[in-house]
């Protein structure tokens, strides 16, 4: 990784800003993820993406439940029965877990934009805090659901 960055900087170091910007051949470097040591912060980061993808799909479930529950009195009871089944509880818990993790990780991201914890050590601690706080919140959500 360090060597990769060195190569990129070495190629651009002696160019002016205009020359660098006009170089159309210089594309952003993409790391091949299957040959990559995964530090803790990288795991925290990929979880943010995975939870986002889970939520994207989960909106269908939430809209379906909301549609039922808001639609009519019998629909409300049907939604309650659905959410009381083991599968219903599992899906609800999964979505709550994804939502809580995405929320905490997103908050960290916004703080990062204000230069909170944007050093190497700070970022390490922040990613550990993100996972730690999320685990506590997800456990509480689990207790609330069951």
């Amino acid at each position: 990784m360090a060597r990769l960055l060195e190569t990129v900087y070495a190629r651009n170091y002696f160019l002016s800003q205009e020359e660098t910007l006009s170089m159309k051949t210089e594309r952003p470097v993409n790391i091949f993820l299957l040959r990559f040591a995964w530090p803790f912060a990288a795991i925290a980061s990929i979880l943010h993406r995975i939870s986002g993808g889970v939520l994207f799909v989960g909106v269908v479930f939430l809209l379906y439940i909301a549609d039922l529950a808001l639609g009519s009195e019998p629909g409300f009871e049907e939604a309650q029965v659905l959410l009381a089944t083991p599968l219903g509880k599992f899906i609800l818990f999964g979505l709550m877990a994804a939502l809580l993790y995405h929320l905490v990780a997103g908050t960290k991201h916004l703080l990062l934009d204000f230069h909170v914890a944007d050093t190497l050590e700070g970022a390490r601690l922040a990613s550990q805090l993100t996972v730690g706080i999320s685990i506590v919140l997800i456990a509480l959500a689990g207790i609330w659901i069951w």
Partner: protein, 122 residues
């Protein structure tokens, strides 16, 4: 400047800002809804409908849904353009990416209309 025709605002900076503004709206909406459910242990149909049919809540729900469209598209676009690439998918990368992006747009379109129907028919 690297631009991409399929990005939401046609510029990375615009997407960056939109992603964050929509995130704040979605976070506020999430906390609001969570607070409602946590403070109403015994829920009834009347309480639920009563809560979502006030005009401020209908406007807030609509705002959250519009934010979700922008936020989800930028997020899913980022994931798609990062992973559905030649070094993972070979020559099928471009076709797969187009299919994935079309599916995302179709899903978001359905979400948006479904949610608008749900929020405003009440």
């Amino acid at each position: 400047m690297v631009t991409n025709v399929t990005s939401f605002g046609r510029s990375g900076l615009s997407d960056f800002v939109l992603q964050r503004v929509s995130a704040v709206i979605l976070a506020a909406y999430t906390l609001c809804i969570m607070g409602f459910f946590l403070t109403h242990e015994s829920m009834t149909h009347q309480i639920l409908v009563g809560y979502f049919t006030t005009l401020p809540m209908q406007i807030f729900s609509t705002m959250a849904m519009v934010s979700l469209i922008a936020h989800a598209w930028i997020g899913m676009w980022t994931i798609g353009t990062d992973y559905i690439r030649e070094h993972y998918f070979g020559t099928r990368a471009l076709a797969s990416r187009l299919f994935y992006q079309s599916a995302c747009i179709a899903a978001l379109f359905i979400y948006a209309l479904w949610a608008m129907n749900l929020i405003w028919r009440l």
